[in-house]
Structures are given as C-alpha cells and as structure tokens.
C-alpha cells in the first residue's frame, strides 16, 4: 500500500501521479472464510478493518453486490454527532465520535471530518427545555453540549431568520461543537483500503442470494459468484436487512423506507455549521464544494424503489427556507435517495440472531453514518468473540420481544409515526 502524504502528491507532480497503487485489490472469492460480512458499506468495511486490525483475524471477506460505498454510505447527508438523549445511544455514538476525531490519521486517508458544530434550533420555551434536557443528559455523561442564546445562534448563522414573527421563531439552540460532517465516500474507501492492506478480501459485484445452513446454523452463503463457506456470517446491508435476513428465514423488526436528500449548486460559504431543528424535519449544511446539502423526513411508507418523491422534498425545502430564507434563489442541482431500514424503536440492532453463526448489524434508520466507526468496532467485537461488546449489548435483536426498546422519540413501534 502506498502511503498517502503531501510529499507523495508532490512526487506525483513530477511523475504524472503514476506511482499510486490501487487502493484495494480485486480478488476472486476463496471457497472459505472465517468471517464473511455481507454488505460493503461503511459499516461492513469498518467491521472488516477492525476484525483484522484489533482481533488479528486474517481470513475475512466483505461481499458487496454492487460497488463499495454505493449504498447509504454514499448517499447520506454526512452529519456526525453524538447528541442523543438516551444513554445507550449517546454512549455508542460518542464512542464513535471520538474515533472520528482521529480517523483520517488512523486510516491514512483524509475522511475530511469537519467538526463545525451540530446545532439543534429550539422554537419555543418548551423546545428549549427539551434541548436543555438532552444537553444535560449528555453533559452528565461527559459529552459536550452547550445551550445557545438567540444572539449566539445569530452570530454563528447570520442567515437564519431570527424574526420574532416567524412561524417557528428561533429562541436558541443546543450545539455540539465536536459534531459536524465528513466526506462519505472517503469513509468507505479509507476503510476498504485499510482492510485490504490487512488482508481482507473485498469482493464487489457479488450479491448474496441465499444462506447455506446446517440445521439451525449458517455455514456459508450462496452468491452470484458461487457458494462461499464461512465460520460466521455478519449481515450489514442497511436498507436490505429485511430482505437478506429473509433469505435465512428471519423476519426483522424493520421496514425499508426511502429517504431522500438533495444538494444545491455550489456557492461561496454561507452556512457555517450543521443546522437541525427540534420542531422541523430538515437539516442543512454546506459541503466543501459549496453545495447546500439538504435532507428531510423519510417517505414514511415502505419502498425499495430508491426513487424520490416531490411531495416530501418540497416539504423539506419549505421548512429549510423558513429557517434560512436566503436559500430561496439557490438551485437544487441533484436529488437522490437511499433505502433505509427503519427499526421499530428508531435505534440500531447489533448482535446475534436466532440462527447460529449468523449476526445482524442493521436498523440504522436515517442516522447510521455517524456511527460507522463505532458500529464497525462493536460488530467486529461481536463477530470475533460471539458476544456483544458493552456498548452494543443494549441493541440486541431480542429487545423488542423483551420490551426493552430504546425509543429516543418515544413514538413507539410504527416507523411512520416517528
């Protein structure tokens, strides 16, 4: 693996950048792996990386039906934060956030993690109390969170509509200054390059189409590139969790829904942080290229179509413009969508399944990008040891039938009411 550095680029300037090696190999699948990870998204690749790096395992494959990072990893709005109200959630995401802070160095791949601040706006005293509650919960657990006054909000984001007569007047905010955004593709590629250099086989265009079973144990997978045997198999396919688990005869507490996002034409810097709202369902940030990245609610009905919907999009834009009127004359240049596996309490699932040797990492809804390092770390631990890490123990699949759901919004089992 060629080491990345400014020096390397300068050297390349003289030789026409001819000395770079492929970031990862393109191997043929072997007939057996100790651990197979289904899904070459950020989570699957990070899992493979930590399996090799932390647990010293060598014989690992990541099977990806398309191209790595082509799922939600490459489609998300890249918001990274750990400001959740409930302890199991903020503990997991904070573990991840700490990893983000060093991820570029760890991977020798600039993932452009940019902690510009993730700010939730409050629009009433009631909102502000809820935000304080969340901030207090975080602060008591050692995570940074600060309440902001109206003036502090105005200073950070001068283009917000601060008028008192606004439909959703801005009373203040809660900021996590260590939150921000990262470059989504780089996360997948950086982990892939790291895993590959540790001997992990990353196999693209290889769709898992079935499981090979021995009684109630999984012993391998059927793929579009033939049968591959495995000691343990980890599902890590986001929006396709329900489908892939279904191949093993499992039904999951998830429903696949479409989430869209969009970006405007690039403009000079105008949004400094990540803007979210306690009452409105839109989130706004500006990419390094200058585009305003915009997201809203999921579609709220099941879909694998990965096609957007003007109704949902227009609603998100209306909400965004109500917050930042200066966006009015920018132009939306591209929309896209991803299939998210909405779990029935809004929290992820990482752990065992009822089937032996088969593990599940899914249910990330619309918020799993920020967890990529933590998800990979804990899932690797679970796959390597067969047991949950303390951080993912609360996120076991059986929590639903046990009644131990982790319901951040308290809205219950129907994903469409969240």
């Amino acid at each position: 693996m060629s080491q990345y550095s400014a020096f390397g680029l300068l050297r390349g300037a003289l030789n026409g950048q001819k000395h770079w090696q492929p970031a990862w190999r393109d191997p043929e699948p072997k007939s057996h792996y100790d651990i197979i990870i289904i899904g070459g998204g950020g989570h699957g690749l990070a899992t493979a990386y930590y399996l090799a790096k932390v647990h010293g395992l060598k014989n690992i494959a990541v099977l990806e039906k398309g191209w790595i990072g082509g799922g939600n990893t490459g489609r998300n709005t890249t918001i990274v934060r750990s400001n959740y109200r409930l302890k199991p959630l903020h503990d997991l995401f904070e573990f991840g956030l700490k990893m983000w802070e060093h991820l570029s160095d760890e991977l020798n791949y600039n993932v452009m993690f940019s902690p510009r601040g993730a700010m939730f706006l409050g629009h009433s005293d009631a909102d502000m109390t809820k935000l304080a509650e969340r901030g207090d919960a975080m602060r008591c657990d050692g995570i940074d969170a600060d309440l902001m006054t109206r003036d502090e909000v105005r200073k950070l984001e001068p283009l917000l509509d601060m008028s008192r007569s606004a439909r959703f007047p801005i009373e203040g905010g809660l900021i996590q200054r260590r939150g921000g955004t990262a470059r989504h593709d780089a996360v997948a590629w950086g982990y892939a390059r790291g895993a590959d250099s540790l001997g992990v086989d990353i196999i693209q265009k290889c769709e898992v189409t079935g499981f090979v079973r021995d009684g109630d144990a999984v012993v391998g997978v059927e793929t579009t590139r033939g049968r591959i045997n495995a000691g343990r198999v980890g599902i890590c396919v986001a929006g396709h969790s329900g489908h892939v688990a279904g191949l093993a005869g499992l039904k999951l507490p998830v429903e696949s829904q479409t989430l869209q996002a969009m970006v405007t034409e690039g403009v000079k810097p105008m949004i400094n942080s990540v803007i979210m709202s306690q009452s409105l369902h839109c989130y706004i940030s500006q990419s390094d290229k200058g585009g305003i990245v915009f997201g809203g609610d999921p579609d709220n009905w099941p879909s694998y179509a990965q096609s957007g919907n003007p109704m949902v999009m227009e609603r998100a834009v209306a909400q965004g413009l109500a917050l930042v009127p200066a966006l009015s004359r920018l132009r939306m240049v591209r929309t896209w969508s991803g299939v998210t596996d909405m779990s029935f309490d809004g929290a992820p699932i990482i752990g065992e399944t009822p089937m032996k040797n088969l593990f599940l990492n899914g249910g990330w809804c619309y918020g799993g990008f920020k967890a990529t390092p933590a998800s990979g770390w804990t899932y690797a631990h679970t796959l390597a040891t067969g047991k949950a890490h303390a951080l993912n123990a609360p996120f076991a699949l059986d929590r639903f039938e046990r009644g131990a759901t982790i319901d951040e919004t308290g809205s219950g089992p129907m994903p469409n009411s969240r």
């Binding site: 802070e101 304080a132 207090d136 008591c140 405007t264 810097p269 003007p310 089992p413």
Partner: protein
C-alpha cells in the same frame, strides 16, 4: 436595443438575445472561471448544458448565482457579474491553482491534510473559500413562487419538429394535451436548421394545437419524472433577476399525465484534446445557433472538428455569414460524399489549441498521422450526439446501446412514456479515441476533470463508473455531466478493453436542470408549510393581549399579564386566583371524540385501558390509553352522556395520533361493532372554570345545582346549549363547559362576566402547568413520554382486569417488570430551585438516574417542587439527590417524595 451590464460595464443586446448571444455580439470571449483551477472560460454551448459561462444575475434578494449565460434572455437593465474570480475576471489570483495542477490530481485531498480534525478545519477554511462559484444572496427574496396541479391525456416535452407533430396529432385526436418547451420560443432544432421548412409551419402548428384545446407552455422545463406518470414542470415567468410582472417569478406544475411523449432531442458532445476548454472552443451546433438564430458570428477564421455530417451545416452557415473556414477536421477516414467546397481533412483530429485568456489563436491537429496547425479564432467541435434520456431514466426506463450513434437510447419503461425524434434516433457518428495529451484534455469543464484524472482513478482502483465520478467529481457540476458522462464512459471502456455499454452507465435523477429552491418551497417558505389553526375564541384572547404559546397547531394564551407583570408573575397571580377564588381558561384544543351506538362501551374498552362499561349515565372518569406495545400512549377522561353516547377527551398534542388510532381500531380491527367514533375536537370549544368559587359561578351561569365531581349534565348558558363536565385538572373543584365552536363567544362572555363578578381571573397555560404539577397530574409529552408503562406511572391499579384493550398483550413482556425502570416520583427542593429538564444524579460526576419532567412552585406556600422519572423511584421516597443542569449552570438539592404536593386526599373536589 436593450441595455445590460456585465461586470459593471454597459452593453447593448438585440431583442431575443440570450445573455450568451449578447456577450458574443459584443466580442466578449472570457466569461467565467472554472471551479478547481480557475481557468479562463468562455461560452461553449447555446443551451442548458453550458458548463463554463456561469454568471450571477440580478442583485438584492433576486440575485441568482451560477446562471448559465445561455439560459437567460436579456431584458432591459439586466445585471450580470462573473464569478469565482478575485480581484477580477481577467486577473484572477485563484489561477495559481492551475499552476499547482500537477500536484492537485483527482482526489488529491484524500491523500493529504492529515493531523487532528482541527488541522483539517484550518485547511478546509481555504478550500471552502476557493470553491463554490457564485455568492448566495443575503437579502430576502421579494418574489413569490406559485404551485399548480394539472392533468392531461398527453404531455409532450420538447417543441421541436417531433414534439410539435406529436402534440398536434394528439390534440386533434381530441386528447387533452400539454406541450412544454424550455426555450422561450417553439421550434427547437428548427430555429437553427429550419431553413428548408416553410418558416410558418411552427406558427401554424402552434395555432392548431391551441385551437384544438392544447396548452402550450414555453420557458417551461420538465424537470422531474416521478411515480405513476407525475411530471414536475418549472415555468419561468420572469427571467433570472427580473422583476416579475405580477409578483410571481416562477411556477411549479405537478402534472399527472395519461401518457408522456419525450421529444427532448440530443446534446452535442465535445471532443477531448489538449486545451479544449479555452474561450473560442465551441460546440458546432451552438455556433450554428448563434449564426442563424441570433445573427452573431463568433469567429472570423474557423476550424471545424467533427466525426459526423452535421457539423458541415455549421461550416456552410459560417461561410454564408462571411466567416472563413480554414479547415474541416473530419475524423472519418474517407470523404463523406460529394465535394463540399470546404477545406476538408479526413482522418483528422484536433490535438491542441493555443490562445490567450480571452481568445483562441491556433489549432493543431493530427491529419493522417502528421501534425498540422492553423491560425484560427474559433474551433467548432462536434463529437457526436447524446440523446436526452434523463426523463426516461427518471421514469425508471432502461437504455439500449446504439452503436452507429455511439450513444444510449431509450428502451423500455415501466411507466407510460415514449421517446421520439432525435432523442430516440441520434445521428450516426464515427468513434474517435482521444489521442492528445490527457493532462490538459478536459472532459468535465466546470469541475476541471481531465482524461488523466480518469486514468488515475482507474489506476487507483476506482473503476466502477460511480467510483470514478465520485473520486474525480466528474459529472457533479451544475451541468450534471450532460457533456462529460459519455467521454468518461468511453475512457473507462478503453481502459477496460470493453465496449461502452459493458463499462457501465450512470443514472439520472431529478432535476433535469437545476431548480430554484424558492420554487420548490412555494408558499410554504413563509410558514414552513405548517398552517396555524385559529382558536374559536381567538379574538376574545387577542383583545386581552396575552403572551401566546405554540401548542400543536395552535397558539394558546400562556398568561394574561396585567400592567408590567412578567410571565412568571402573571402566571402565579392567575394560579393563585384558581387556588383561592376562581379562574377560567380556554381548553378548546383538547382532543374530543363522540362515541355512540349500542357497542360504544365495548369499543371504548378496547381503546381505553381502564373500565368504561360500568360507568353510569351522567358520570365520567379518568382514563388512559396504551399503544399496542403496552406503553402509555395518552390520557384523558371518558363521560357517559347518554345510554349509548360517550365523550372521550385526550391530549391536544396527541390529537391527530389518537384520531388515527381510533379510526384504525374502529374501521380495521372492529368493523363488526355497532358504533360510530367521531372526531369532534374543533366542533366544540371548551372553557374550564376552576377554583373554590367555581361551583357558585356555575350555579349562577346554568341556573341549577352544578353536577358533582366527575358528573356531567346538559345545560344552557347565555341561551346556548352546553355540556358541563365536572372535572378537575387543577386540583380544585372545576368544570369544563363544551359548546359548539360557533357559539363559543357568547358562552365565554357569560362565564367571564360571572368569574369577574366573583373576583376571579383568566388563566393561561403557564398557570395551568403550575396547578397540575402541584397536584401531580400527568401530561402527555412530559411524564407520559412514550417510554413509560402503566406501572411506571403508577396507573396499573386502574387497568381493566378483564383485559381486551389495545396494548394488553405488550404488558407481559419481561422487561416491563425488571428492576431498574424509570418510575414517576415527586421532587421537593431542599436547596435551590429545581430546573425543569435537569438530570437527577447522586453526586457530582455521577451518571444520571432520571430527570425532572416538570418543575413549578407551590402556589400558596412557595417552594420549588417537581415531577420526575427516577430509576426504581417508587422505592426511593425520602432519598436526597441533586437535580443538575450543567447546560444552564443550575442545580438544586432535592428530596424524592410522592408525586402529589397538594390536597392528597382530594378533599377540595367535594362540595
């Protein structure tokens, strides 16, 4: 003559000019700077695919950055400015990035800028400043954007010969037709090449379509093709930056079409050769358009480079307009046909150009393997034609490879869409493999992606088209790859040694061309699409100038300050009035359901987790509802108004959820029950009268003995029939009066007169909150947060022993009876005031064991009290804890107590 300005200088345009035509007319070659290397760029196309000539139009709140000069029609006073340059267009410091280009290869930023996140942010600051093209407006948009829905049998997109004919045929066959065209006139390719046709054909066809009832929309782009043949159209009513005639700048159409016909034509492709990006390099059809449509000849000595016949038409047009054709470089091996009278070179491809910032000076080509140069000020390039298949693909369509045209053409679709004309049948071309130096051979002009960037991505393993795009940023510019995608696929195929269709395909997502955000938001930009509902008693409150508080869809009075009272002072005065005398408040927004029929009680015992059936006529009781998973969902009261008629109330905030839930249970789960459950939330307005004097006030109002606590009677107030419920949220003897909303004003006035006669006061939500906290009543969204079981809230004793209610099945889950659950407690301050929302901790630095869900003060005696959720709280009464709010720098020492601070025995309800 029309006056416009560019970078502060005034110029003249002809009527009908695009800004691009007008700039060329005035001899302006340099119009913009590219994104990454700030290379000087001119006008390359005559259409929406323009990658280079981006300018900022207008000023103030109408500023539109990144506007394609080829897609704005000049109007008197148009103001245009160049972008992404400093200090000016001609001398741009940013061009140093170009010098560093060898080090700034594709994806260079992934390989450097390591160190802490803070360090990256330092570099990033400069990168962000350098990126981003134009400046966003900072002023409020003064214009409106309207939205409109339409239906038609046939929607035709594109008004070239194919589209016009299709629209005419459909319209004259009696179909409802909408024809849209993004240009401001009809004709499309005919505007450029229509000499052979009777010029009046377009006009005549247009008239016939209209006469047959068809609707024609110009300056209207079909930008999105969604499910079930829904197409969104964006219509420009005013040009960018222009003051719209009636205040509406653009209109968004949602058109549901029976059938969609795409006659969207094709986009000409550039060729990849060194320095193919400078001003003076244009697409052939664009040159022809400027010559024939606008009467502007963009060059005097012209080289044509082509791989097809079409570019010859450009040569003739230029010649006819007086330009000199110095060479026609035809990539094809042999002459196409008869002698054209032009200096044609076969087997000839351009290698590179020379020039200055503003213009082209010479073109070098390889002809039969030999290098040859010509002095020229314009090169018109045609690398073939890319059918506009965007909408077809958005509709979920598939593509076929047309080898003769070296292009993808529409194949099947699951929607009712067909493609006709040039978009379906592009002209044949000769495949040209780029031969010149890849480093300066641009394929994505705006983002400065060259062939060597593609090569590098390939070498580094970014080999799928999507990886390539993302790694190099190819196709990510404002033109979304309209000019670059095919060149990249070609290079990729070459590297892989396969044919283009095997190399991959990129997908197209809406929009076809960029869409103004304000247009998508429409009127919703003003209120976030969340309309405010008006209280029936709004005027009554407004006259008293209260402090308003948003709650659900409504704004409700939070307090009615008198004189210089603060919110807290007013609320405390109001609460005291209730405790010591009488107060009244508007409770209209509570959710209300009227449940009638022989099975009404049975139905309510499904919805409510408490018993209902035993309720006598005229009596009511507290109730709560569970979600299907067993958690407490909402709470309220249920009243038996009559033998088979009940009124159910629940929380304001949960009203919509509850309405859906009740309807679902009734319609889907229990269709066999003989019951009707009607949402009467806004049918009735509600007025609560509470306090020791409430009974006396009620007696005066209704002229009879008021009902006992938890009883109900029909009555008359001010001649209006009302329902009186004796229910108390405040902890005092209290009544809720429900009246048809349209008559609420009369009843309110009567009540207010009576309450003031008693010396009472109005009270708002803040006082109500004080009262209910002191009394230990729950609130949905507070103590009832969707994560609490009936047991956690100490409601389990009220559960219907017979079961059968929604959520009963969830209650037996093991985690519901494990230790360590959060449970409802009261909190009493030992020291300090308890901050609402604060965490409950055993000491500094300890992890929270619960939180304060609501905090207030004892109304008559003072002292800070609160309700909260605490781990295993039922067993911890008497324990001391800290309520800590680090975000507000507040804390209090508290004692855990029972969650009732006032009249625990309920004596005050009794008469």
């Amino acid at each position: 003559m029309i006056n416009f300005s560019f970078d502060g200088k005034t110029y003249q345009a002809e009527k009908g000019d695009t800004l691009a035509a007008a700039l060329l007319r005035n001899g302006i070659g340099l119009v913009g700077r590219s994104f990454k290397y700030h290379r000087p760029r001119g006008i390359m196309t005559a259409g929406v695919e323009e990658p280079n000539a981006l300018v900022t139009i207008g000023d103030g709140g109408r500023t539109e950055p990144n506007t394609r000069a080829t897609d704005v029609f000049v109007y008197e006073g148009l103001v245009a400015k160049s972008q992404n340059r400093w200090p000016n267009l001609s001398f741009d410091i940013g061009a140093v990035f170009g010098l560093a280009a060898p080090a700034l290869s594709a994806g260079f930023y992934y390989k450097t800028f390591f160190g802490s996140a803070k360090r990256w942010m330092f570099y990033e600051y400069f990168i962000r400043k350098a990126a981003g093209l134009g400046n966003a407006p900072t002023k409020t948009d003064p214009d409106h954007f309207s939205q409109r829905a339409a239906f038609c049998d046939v929607l035709v997109v594109g008004a070239g010969p194919a589209g016009l004919s299709a629209a005419l045929e459909a319209a004259e066959a009696g179909k409802r037709v909408i024809l849209v065209e993004q240009d401001n006139i009809l004709g499309a390719s005919l505007i450029r090449d229509g000499q052979d046709l009777d010029g009046a054909w377009v006009d005549a066809t247009q008239a016939r379509i209209r006469a047959a009832g068809g609707r024609i929309l110009t300056r209207t782009t079909a930008s999105g093709y969604w499910e079930h043949d829904l197409v969104t159209l964006t219509q420009r009513i005013a040009e960018p930056g222009q003051t719209p005639p009636h205040g509406v700048a653009q209109r968004l159409w949602h058109v549901r079409a029976g059938q969609v016909i795409l006659a969207t034509g094709s986009i000409e492709r550039p060729m990849a050769f060194a320095h193919n990006d400078r001003p003076g390099v244009m697409l052939s059809q664009a040159v022809r358009t400027y010559v024939r449509r606008f009467g502007v000849v963009p060059g005097k000595r012209v080289v044509i480079a082509t791989n097809n016949d079409d570019a010859y038409k450009t040569a003739y047009a230029l010649k006819a307009a007086g330009a000199e054709i110095v060479a026609v470089l035809d990539a094809r091996p042999a002459p196409a046909g008869a002698d054209s009278g032009l200096p044609v070179y076969n087997n000839a491809v351009p290698l590179s150009t020379k020039g200055a910032r503003h213009c082209l000076k010479s073109v070098t080509a390889r002809v039969y393997g030999l290098t040859q140069s010509w002095d020229a000020d314009l090169i018109a390039v045609s690398g073939g034609f890319t059918p506009v298949v965007h909408l077809h693909m958005q509709a979920g369509g598939t593509l076929d490879w047309n080898d003769a045209a070296q292009a993808f053409v529409p194949a099947s679709s699951r929607q009712n869409v067909t493609t006709i004309g040039g978009a379906a049948n592009p002209e044949p071309v000769f495949n040209v493999v780029p031969v010149s130096k890849p480093k300066k051979s641009f394929i994505d002009f705006q983002n400065d992606v060259t062939l060597s960037d593609v090569d590098l991505a390939w070498a580094e393993g970014y080999r799928s088209v999507e990886h390539l795009k993302r790694y190099t940023t190819l196709g990510m510019a404002t033109d979304q790859g309209k000019l670059s995608n095919m060149a990249a696929l070609g290079r990729l195929a070459e590297k892989q040694g396969v044919a283009i269709p095997e190399a991959g395909l990129t997908t197209f997502r809406p929009p076809y061309t960029p869409v103004t955000m304000g247009l998508l938001a429409g009127a919703g930009a003003k209120d976030a699409g969340a309309h405010v509902r008006r209280l029936a008693l709004y005027d009554v409150h407004a006259a008293k100038n209260p402090i308003w508080q948003p709650l659900g869809y409504w704004f409700r009075p939070r307090a009615y300050p008198v004189g210089s009272e603060t919110l807290a002072q007013a609320a405390m005065r109001e609460a005291k009035a209730v405790r010591s005398n009488v107060g009244m408040t508007d409770v209209s927004t509570l959710a209300k359901f009227e449940v009638t029929g022989p099975d009404a009680a049975a139905f309510l015992e499904i919805i409510c987790a408490t018993t209902v059936g035993k309720l006598a006529v005229g009596r009511g009781r507290y109730t709560f509802m569970l979600r299907e998973d067993g958690f407490v969902f909402d709470d309220g009261t249920v009243w038996r108004l009559d033998e088979n008629r009940y009124l159910l109330t629940s929380s304001t905030g949960g009203a919509d959820r509850m309405a859906t839930h009740i309807s679902y249970v009734r319609q889907y789960l229990c269709p066999h029950l003989r019951v009707s459950a009607v949402n009467v939330q806004e049918h009735y307005a509600g007025i609560a009268v509470a306090g020791p004097q409430a009974k006396a006030a009620l007696a005066a109002l209704i002229g009879e003995e008021p009902p006992r606590h938890m009883s109900t009677v029909p009555a008359m107030i001010a001649g209006v029939p009302v329902i009186v419920l004796a229910a108390s949220y405040s902890g005092e003897r209290a009544f809720e009066i429900y009246v048809e909303a349209s008559h609420a004003g009369l009843v309110w006035a009567a009540c207010e007169a009576e309450v003031s006669a008693q010396g009472g006061a109005l009270y708002g939500l803040e006082a109500m909150e004080f009262l209910r906290i002191e009394k230990g009543h729950l609130v949905v969204g507070g103590e009832v947060d969707g994560r609490m079981t009936p047991h956690d809230l100490a409601l389990d004793k009220m559960l219907n022993k017979a079961g059968g209610y929604v959520g009963a099945s969830g209650l037996s889950r093991p985690a519901f009876s494990e230790a360590g659950r959060l449970q409802l407690v009261g909190l009493e301050a030992i020291e300090g005031n308890i901050p609402e929302g604060a965490m409950l901790v055993t000491g500094e630095g300890a992890s929270p064991q619960g939180h304060v869900s609501a905090a207030a003060f004892r109304i008559m005696d003072g002292g800070s009290v609160a309700l909260g959720q605490l781990t295993d709280g039922f067993a911890r009464h008497g324990e001391e804890l800290i309520a800590s709010s680090p975000t507000r720098g507040q804390m209090a020492r508290v004692r855990v107590v029972a969650p009732h601070f006032y009249d625990t025995a309920g004596e005050r309800y009794r008469d």
